[in-house]
């Protein structure tokens, strides 16, 4: 127990292998986390990251392993209970909390469900929950029901719950996927605080910028194989992306000038009370305009007005030179608008329905014959066309959309909108939960669409994404467009400074 390694390593895995059916999910992978270290586990979807976490937490039993050691203690076979007792905790992306219970109840949940029946002492529970939050440096209404909190705060509750169980090694699966930049920064602060308190954190994230910011070392896994362990010092995003995908990813500013292109969309003095004010916006055909800024800046609200989901209080819009005042989403679509929602899971796609149905949902009218019935053959043709056009990797068109990876789901969202033959495509945070390789694929498509003359509004709070894919960048804050930037004459750090200042 008191060997040297006990103090240095929270976790040591040597040559761990695990297969599912014929698929080798992990192939002799080594993975080590030092005590109190912030370590990043990087790799594309399906590379074996989740399997690795599940081996450590005893959910999966590896076929073979030379060594599994937790906090200096060699373990032959981990069970989930044992892993938890030793202080291993995982915060999955869905958080696994109870929406209708209070913050305090969620934090103290594992204490509440002891083996022996006992009465719940709410006073003590609240005090203890409060203490844990204090340790994180966070203040929160302890009696508030969880569902009333924004996702960022729920994340904190999940972390507090892990700490309540004396976690000394916490795995965080895509903790920032649905957070804005400022929320992410706050979460990273908490992670640093935990690390200083001696808690080791394994961070799983697609956002390479924050990986490099927070982690000391990064372990890269590709197709179940260990690529290597690297210090983050001196590592670049481009290099890390290459290590993860195995091929070079273009990440350069790609801005162009379009002096002769006709104006596709124009808004003048657009305002909606409490959301945005006096917005002037011009997008030319074939142009990609980046719109960035903090959450609450009014970006998504502006998109909703453009898409006919809400109405502006004042100002006017023009689409292809004609006055544009959509009364409904349908009217907006008919006039050539398309909107890739920031919330793919609950608004962008119907998760229970098939790939085919999700592709054709907005163009049913194109599929009906004179009888008013949907033509199955036309539907199949349309689906086949777009699946091929965008290179979506699917099993069968009848499979539920939820069987696809984030990147492929987003391609189906694109297919759905491209099928409507839009004039202006609004992309609202299009790469949330999409991994590095698939991101590149999506932006290749976006670029190609722009080259074909589609006007594109790219809304994102990832500064690098906007920098690399826009022709012009608009910075929005407090409901107003503050400034326009040319990606060719400003750097990422400069732009970040303006936004977060």
């Amino acid at each position: 127990m008191t060997t040297a390694s006990a103090e240095r390593f929270a976790l040591r895995l040597h040559k761990v292998s695990k297969a599912f059916g014929g698929v080798q999910a992990l192939n002799k992978v080594d993975f080590e986390v030092r005590a109190g270290e912030v370590h990043c586990l990087a790799g594309e979807n399906g590379c074996g990251k989740s399997t690795l976490i599940k081996v450590v937490t005893g959910v999966h039993r590896p076929e073979s392993a030379d060594l599994i050691e937790l906090f200096g203690q060699r373990i032959d076979r981990i069970t989930p209970v044992q892993a938890r007792e030793l202080g291993v905790s995982v915060i999955w992306q869905d958080l696994a909390l109870f929406p209708h219970m209070s913050v305090a109840e969620n934090i103290a949940f594992d204490d509440l469900v002891g083996l022996r029946p006992k009465s719940v002492r709410y006073g003590e529970m609240t005090t203890r929950a409060g203490k844990v939050l204090e340790r994180l440096g966070v203040r929160m209404e302890l009696g508030a029901p969880l569902h009333s909190l924004p996702i960022a705060q729920r994340q904190v509750v999940a972390i507090a719950r892990a700490l309540m169980n004396d976690a000394k090694l916490i795995f965080m699966d895509e903790p920032t996927a649905s957070l804005t930049q400022s929320e992410t920064d706050r979460l990273l602060d908490i992670v640093r605080k935990l690390s200083a308190q001696g808690v080791a954190i394994v961070f799983v994230s697609h956002r390479l910028a924050e990986v490099l910011e927070i982690a000391e070392r990064v372990t890269v896994v590709r197709d179940g194989n260990l690529v290597g362990v690297y210090p983050t010092e001196g590592m670049t995003q481009a290099r890390l992306g290459e290590l993860m995908t195995g091929h070079h990813i273009e990440n350069d500013v790609s801005a162009r000038d379009l002096p002769d292109a006709p104006v596709a969309f124009q808004a003048r003095g657009l305002s909606r009370h409490g959301e945005f004010h006096d917005v002037d916006l011009t997008i030319k055909a074939g142009e990609v305009v980046g719109l960035t800024g903090l959450i609450g800046a009014g970006r998504t609200e502006l998109a909703h007005v453009m898409m006919g989901m809400r109405r502006a209080d004042s100002g006017d819009m023009q689409l292809n030179g004609a006055p544009y005042r959509p009364k409904s989403v349908r009217a907006a679509i008919e006039q050539g608008m398309a909107y890739v929602s920031e919330d793919r899971l609950s608004l962008g796609l119907l998760q229970k329905q098939s790939i085919a149905d999700n592709t054709v949902i907005s163009v049913l009218r194109k599929l009906t014959s004179v009888t008013g019935l949907i033509s199955e053959s036309r539907k199949a043709d349309l689906v086949r066309h777009w699946i091929k056009e965008l290179g979506v990797k699917i099993g069968a068109p009848e499979d539920p959309i939820s069987t696809l990876s984030g990147g492929n789901q987003q391609k189906v969202v694109l297919a759905k909108w491209l099928a409507t033959d839009p004039k202006l495509l609004i992309l609202d945070s299009p790469t949330v939960g999409v991994d590095v390789g698939a991101r590149a694929g999506i932006f290749r498509i976006v670029r190609q669409l722009a080259d074909e003359g589609l006007a594109i509004l790219l809304i994102s709070d990832e500064v690098t994404e906007v920098m690399h894919n826009s022709d012009r960048i608009l910075h929005m804050a407090d409901g107003r467009i503050q400034q326009e930037y040319d990606p060719r004459t400003i750097s990422v750090p400069q732009l970040e400074e303006r936004i977060y200042a």
Binding site: M309, S328, V329, R330, A332, I333, Y339, S341, S346, L347, G348, L349, L350, Q351, K352, Q353, D357, I361, S362, L364, R365, L367, T368, G372, L373, I374, K416, T420
Partner: protein, 336 residues
């Protein structure tokens, strides 16, 4: 062993699997009952089944569409009753048993209007107020029951013209008229749900209303329309009920309400909306009818038949569960 496990694995959901599984069940039941009773596979029994099933069938279809849209219509039976009353009163106005065919047509049209209105009101409240369909349809059910009992003083209206017997008891080329009516409506329902943009919208609304609206479909209008059509089907069921029983009473057929829900779920309809087809539900209806008629023929108590329906549904749910599916997959592995 392998034959059985193969059959069992066909019980899994999915359009083809659903039908195959139910067909196997139906075949087994028919086999068992025809061995148990020589009278089961006779024209008389099949005919009586053909007269009994359509009423439950129409109400089940009226229940099916709202469930697909993510809701429920608990008011189906009382909507049918009120529509039946509308028809009955119209006929009584024109001389009761002496009334001409015009009175029946007028009464039928009025009944359908009443049914459609009842449905449209529910649909509008569900869609535009955002109230839960269970509460809305429950309120409508209680309203219609109270209204009907108040207007009839709890009694029944009977004594309809003879020609109405054709609708309830007639045969065309040896096939019961109610069954023909049901077949036509069921086919129409299938086409509406599976092939029209409106039906597509019902499925989408049922799985995520907000995302459906974001895609540019009018989910609210879809809900109003589907509840209206559900009410219309209830009206047709009410008319058929009047023709079959030669009387109308509020509360007639009340026991069928929950059976329609059972038939929908037995037919593989997703209780939370968004998935399910007409054909397996009809198979489920036939199975329920076979169970009830078969048990009746071998001399079992009618109440026992109801109990067997309940047990049967529980058994089906167990068979459809993931655990069973895994077991089936395990046993059908080639290396064992």
């Amino acid at each position: 062993m392998t034959a059985l496990t193969k059959r069992l694995s066909q019980l899994k959901s999915g359009a083809g699997g659903e039908n195959a599984g139910l067909l196997v069940m139906l075949a087994v039941l028919v086999l068992v009952f025809s061995i148990a009773s020589p009278r089961f596979l006779t024209g008389a029994n099949l005919g009586s089944m053909g007269f009994q099933m359509p009423l439950l069938g129409l109400l089940t279809l009226a229940m099916l569409a709202p469930i697909l849209s993510g809701g429920l219509n608990l008011a189906i039976v009382y909507t049918a009753n009120i529509c039946g009353l509308t028809l009955a009163w119209t006929i009584m106005q024109f001389g009761g048993a002496e009334a001409g065919i015009g009175a029946f047509i007028l009464g039928g049209v009025l009944a359908m209007i009443v049914g459609a209105i009842a449905g449209a009101v529910m649909g509008a409240v569900v869609a535009y107020v955002g109230a839960h369909p269970i509460l809305v349809s429950l309120a409508m059910m209680i309203f219609l029951r109270g209204l009907g009992e108040f207007l009839t003083r709890g009694g029944d209206i009977s004594g309809f013209p003879d020609y109405m017997r054709v609708l309830g008891h007639g045969e065309l080329a040896g096939i019961p008229v109610p069954l023909i009516l049901f077949g036509l409506i069921a086919f129409g329902w299938h086409v509406l749900l599976r092939r029209t943009p409106h039906g597509f919208s019902v499925y989408m609304t049922g799985s995520n209303m907000k995302a459906t609206e974001y895609a540019g479909l009018n989910a609210k209008r879809t809900l109003v329309l589907i509840y209206t059509l559900s009410g219309l089907l209830c009206a047709i069921a009410g008319i058929l009920m009047a023709a079959r029983f030669n009387s109308v009473r509020v509360g007639h057929g009340e026991a069928m309400l929950l059976i329609t829900v059972l038939a929908c779920f037995l037919g593989g309809i997703d209780p939370f909306g968004g998935h399910g087809r007409v054909a397996p539900v009809i198979l489920a209806l036939i199975i329920l009818q076979v169970l009830s008629s078969g048990l009746n023929l071998i001399g079992a108590n009618q109440h026992l038949a109801t109990a067997v329906w309940g047990l049967f549904l529980i058994a089906v749910m167990v068979l459809r569960s993931d655990q069973i599916r895994q077991m089936v997959n395990f046993f059908s592995r080639k290396d064992i």
